[in-house]
């Protein structure tokens, strides 16, 4: 009996919260999805074009595709690190959104940003402990997902 009442109360609360959330929507400006997607497309595309340009340049100089590919990754990561350190990458990120988060440059940014932020708490307990605070969850979930998908793929090909 008691439990039922409690449950009903929770239900009512949940419904009221939902109603309020819907009511609030009319006062909340929406993100400009179309413009944001467009910006993300162009900035993300630009990063890829730069990467491809560097790779082609190297391949024309006689490096193998694999070697130049590795170099491109190093180049992108280092550039993003430098831009983060100079305080430019967050401005690019604000403009481009997913366009600068999805490429590997975003990954570099998500590691350097906490490194700068927590430097004052020391090398070990500050930088060391917080370095993966943003990238860590992505790595854990990304690797877990690829293990699961890899397993399914293996089973399908048996």
């Amino acid at each position: 009996m008691e439990n039922k009442k409690e449950k009903q109360k929770k239900e009512i609360k949940k419904r009221q919260a939902k109603e309020y959330e819907n009511y609030v929507k009319q006062f909340t400006p929406k993100p400009k999805y179309f413009m944001n997607s467009l910006k993300a497309f162009f900035v993300g595309g630009l990063i890829c074009i730069i990467a491809f340009y560097v790779q082609t340049l190297l391949m024309n100089r006689g490096y193998s595709e694999k070697d130049s590919g590795t170099f491109v990754i190093v180049f992108l990561v280092c550039s993003a690190q430098l831009l983060t350190g100079l305080g430019v990458y967050d401005t690019i990120g604000k403009f481009a959104g997913a366009g600068s988060i999805v490429p590997i440059t975003g990954f570099a940014n998500s590691m350097v940003a906490p490194a700068i932020e927590y430097k004052k708490e020391g090398i070990v307990l500050g930088v060391g402990a917080k370095l993966f605070s943003l990238a860590g969850p992505v790595l854990v979930c990304g690797i877990s997902a690829s293990v699961v998908i890899g397993f399914i793929y293996y089973m399908m090909n048996l």
């Binding site: 006062f27 909340t28 400006p29 967050d90 604000k94 959104g97 988060i101 940014n109 940003a113 700068i116």
Partner: protein, 347 residues
């Protein structure tokens, strides 16, 4: 024993504690906004020459307190207690400020509602005869709040339009049982500010879980406190020249107006919000300012000065707080809102 309360939640201060001095110190971005002429100090650099952001915030708070003391013509030896708070874990900014000043200290946490919380408790201490002079203060800093509640500063992410920008700034007021010696402002005798009533708010949780919707999360609490205050005192909104909420921002301000109108209370001519006033639209602060320093710096800067000059006679100041923690939002809890109101009159 005399009961100094009317209605359900409102205190009456029969001895009318005076606000005899105030000062506001803000960061660079706030100093470029529309409120810039009211602030006592605008920093050129938000680090304020300190090595850590926490120390910068502490120094900003200390500066606001020392300036307010100077403004009130008091020395720190004459002060009985500091009531102050901020947003950082274990009230680091306030505690470290109090460590330097060596004045009895009560740290308060009311999230962004801290300024009126400290004002109310300060007025209670003076009205009850427990103190003669009290400092009420609050502070916040964009960089300390970001690192505690959100992302590292250099992380390149996008905020939704309903997000708010934590104000770098501090406000401080000196409460006293004595009237300040007569002063002239622009050829007119300056008004004396007294705290007449205070309404302590209760937590209202409307079920909002989105941390980028702070204005919407706090609006119902603000409405509840305003309505309770009007009911307890038997006043109409038009009794006040200004009804000012703390940091609801553009979104929250619209919701408060609409919710009150639904209850047949029209505040459109007197109501505004500090968060919505703090920045220009071009400053990219999205829905407006937030943080303890938002209402603290506008009450101690803009409102205090306007009231001293007699341009505002009666004001209802409401600091609004979202009492969430980083843990509670990760655990899927909704955001509890709170709002405390203080009625100040220039006499």
């Amino acid at each position: 024993m005399q009961i100094n309360r009317i209605g359900k939640q409102t205190f009456v201060f029969h001895n009318e504690p005076n606000i005899i001095g105030a000062a506001a110190v803000v960061g660079k971005k706030e100093g470029q906004g529309p409120m810039k002429k009211w602030f006592d100090v605008i920093l050129k650099d938000d680090s304020y020459g300190e090595k850590t952001w926490e120390k910068s915030e502490s120094k900003i708070l200390k500066k606001a307190i020392l300036l307010a003391l100077e403004n009130a013509g008091k020395t720190k030896e004459q002060i009985d207690a500091i009531l102050s708070g901020d947003l950082i874990n274990q009230l680091m900014s306030s505690s470290f400020m109090a460590r330097d000043l060596q004045i009895p200290f009560l740290g308060l946490y009311g999230a962004c509602s801290t300024m009126t919380e400290s004002l109310i408790l300060g007025a209670v201490l003076i009205d009850g005869g427990y103190a003669q002079n009290i400092i009420a203060a609050a502070s916040s800093h964009y960089c300390t709040a970001e690192r505690q509640f959100r992302m590292p500063l250099e992380h390149g992410n996008q905020r939704p339009p309903s997000a708010q920008w934590t104000v770098t700034g501090a406000g401080s007021m000196i409460l006293s049982n004595q009237i300040r010696s007569q002063q002239m402002i622009a050829g007119e005798p300056a008004k004396n500010l007294v705290v007449t009533h205070a309404t302590v708010g209760k937590i209202v949780d409307a079920g909002i879980k989105d941390v980028n919707q702070m204005g919407a999360a706090m609006a119902p609490a603000t409405v509840d406190t305003i309505m309770q205050h009007l009911k307890d005192t038997g006043r109409e909104p038009s009794y006040y020249d200004v009804i000012l909420s703390g940091d609801l921002g553009m979104v929250g301000k619209k919701i408060v107006k609409d919710l009150l109108l639904k209850e047949n209370i029209d505040v459109s001519t007197v109501y505004d919000d500090c968060g919505a006033m703090m920045y220009e639209k071009e400053q990219d602060a999205h829905s407006g300012g937030s943080g303890c320093g938002c209402s603290a710096s506008i009450f101690s800067g803009h409102i205090f000065k306007e009231m001293r000059q007699g341009k505002i006679r009666k004001a209802l100041l409401i600091s609004t707080g979202a009492l969430l923690s980083t843990i509670s939002s990760q655990q899927g809890e909704s955001i509890p809102g709170i709002a405390h109101a203080v009625a100040v009159e220039g006499k």
